[in-house]
């Protein structure tokens, strides 16, 4: 698993344990967590579905980001 950006379970648990009653400060981090998880799972998909290595992923990201 390419852990280019990983989140500790305890961190996510801390962010989400307030459930639907999240206060803003916690909620902002939660959204950040959602972004991090999106990137983490995208890297996983790139590795497992396309067989890309970390360097190829970085190149692909750079190409899309530089347009």
């Amino acid at each position: 698993m390419p852990v280019l950006h990983s989140l500790k379970k305890s961190v996510i648990r801390g962010l989400l344990k307030a459930g639907s009653k999240v206060k803003f400060a916690r909620g902002k981090k939660l959204l950040g967590g959602l972004v991090n998880l999106m990137l983490d799972e995208t890297f996983n998909w790139m590795e497992h579905a396309l067989g890309m290595n970390a360097l190829e992923m970085m190149v692909a990201l750079h190409q899309v980001g530089s347009r």
Partner: protein, 136 residues
């Protein structure tokens, strides 16, 4: 979009990351259609990872845990639900072809978190009044 000052950094971060990731996976998949399928599956994995940490696993509860507010409306439809949100954070300001859908990632997150099949049936980006997700 009615956001309090503090939220203005978090939601654009999600918005632009999603936009870039969708562009990336579409290019790598070879088409936008395949990219949409891929980002839905990425969303599902994200939802599955979030699921153990969300207390209220109803459609409203998951939405509230993600965006700290309720969706505009949730209506029971047969065995499923129709979740409707008029201020969807992913597609605000996007304009696509009439009838297109854009929030596949969000549909995937809901699918993973709720453990159900979810389909985006209408999207603001495609000219709809709201983003509507059918939860089977």
């Amino acid at each position: 979009m009615s956001l309090r000052t503090d939220k203005r950094m978090a939601i654009p971060c999600l918005y632009y990351t999603h936009y870039t990731v969708l562009a990336l996976v579409s290019e790598l998949s070879g088409s936008l259609e395949e990219g949409c399928k891929a980002i839905f599956e990425i969303g599902r994995k994200v939802g599955e990872r979030l699921r153990p940490f969300i207390k209220d696993l109803s459609p409203e509860g998951v939405w509230e845990a993600l965006f700290f507010r309720s969706p505009t409306r949730v209506v029971r439809k047969g065995e499923g639900w129709l979740l409707e949100d008029m201020e969807c954070p992913l597609c605000e300001g996007m304009e696509l072809e009439e009838g297109s859908t854009y929030c596949h990632f969000l549909a995937g997150v809901l699918a993973g978190a709720l453990g159900r099949e979810v389909e985006e049936v209408e999207c603001k980006a495609g000219g709809g009044k709201a983003c509507r997700f059918f939860i089977h």
